[in-house]
Symmetry: C2
Subunit: 222 residues, 2 copies
């Protein structure tokens, strides 16, 4: 039996959504355990550490196996539970797009967004006397390593979606992986310059499995 440990407003939404896709496609059953972030600190509860020492969501338990890391869990679920390849491409060109976005979405697109979040927290929550310096440092980091990379990587996604409904032919685990990343940018800075990404996000959100995931696990971003 599969058990997903889900944390509200977190990457585990990806896996919840994928499990709902597999449920609709194959009738796959799973258990959901919902964990809540601390309302003040927004941190994950200690309970997650008791399940896996990294203490982060998602955690998927499959019998005696305790699995972490979005990209790997997506590959795992598709390998063992998507037996008709409904959510992963078999064609070479589409497999290449699938595998690229699965890695790129978390390894290259996501880290600068996390760094921006951290620098914003540092700048706005510093003691008032050092806040101007903290804001200057945020601006320096933004210029050094964040803004160009974000613009380039989301530009790549925007171009890729120019003539495509989904990232890799038909809908796949890659769309689920990158959806979270694009929503993370949208929730903070908007996506005004990226109409193709906006339309693709809406296509994602219109999927019945997505709607089920929101109904059981809550909205991705508050």
């Amino acid at each position: 039996m599969l058990t997903l440990h889900h944390l509200n407003h977190s990457r585990s939404f990806r896996i919840l959504w994928l499990l709902e896709e597999l449920k609709l496609a194959y009738g796959l059953e799973y258990q959901l355990v919902c964990h809540q972030r601390d309302k003040r600190t927004f941190l994950a509860p200690r309970a997650l550490k008791d399940i896996h020492p990294m203490g982060k969501a998602p955690i998927l338990v499959d019998d005696d196996k305790v699995l972490i890391e979005s990209g790997f869990i997506i590959e795992y679920l598709l390998k063992y539970y998507d037996l008709n390849h409904q959510l992963q491409p078999t064609d070479d060109v589409q497999w290449q797009a699938y595998s690229f976005w699965l890695h790129f979405g978390e390894s290259s697109m996501m880290p600068p967004l996390v760094m921006r979040l951290v620098m914003n927290a540092v700048a706005t929550k510093s003691p008032i006397v050092i806040r101007p310096v903290a804001k200057a440092i945020r601006q320096k980091v933004e210029k050094m390593v964040i803004s160009d990379t974000v613009r380039q990587s989301f530009g790549l996604l925007e171009n890729h979606l120019q003539d495509k409904h989904w990232l890799a032919g038909s809908f796949s685990g890659a769309d689920i992986q990158v959806y979270f990343t694009a929503k993370a940018l949208q929730s903070r800075s908007g996506l005004d310059d990226y109409p193709n990404i906006q339309n693709w996000l809406m296509r994602c959100q219109a999927r019945p499995a997505f709607e089920h995931a929101v109904a059981t696990g809550g909205q991705l971003f508050a």
Copy 2:
């Protein structure tokens, strides 16, 4: 024909090493184009942007395809050029380890190391009047999001290597992916608390293909 655009002291060392493994195993030929970081800023040269808009290494060109992203390039090379599965496991348990470390090494282990590098640069290169505040901010970020995650993720790797020679059964692309990440930590902070990781790094470095990669592409870290 395969062409690797290699940047000194960068992630493209991974792909150079993998190409050397494939050359030894199958006689695969490839072309190497070496790019040099700016000696003062340590930035990649603009020439990389002319090849791929992200402007980062590695870039692998396979006929008309221009590929980026370490994890994806490793999967791509193994899928199409490692036809006897010499560098990727077929067994289920080992495939799970392989896929996990391939994703985890770049998506979860690497980003806090990059953030630490950025915060160190900001702290040490700030104008002298704001340097104490910059160092306090570095310490805050280190405590908020870096040190625990680094300790946990490298602890996971250390435990995994307790009774194993390689990450996924025999040597595989996962070792290549995570090697870079572990060397990045070692070059900055040492690996005194991680004897298993140290021994595994030495096993990696003793491989003939690794030695060839160093001979053609240079040492990974200066």
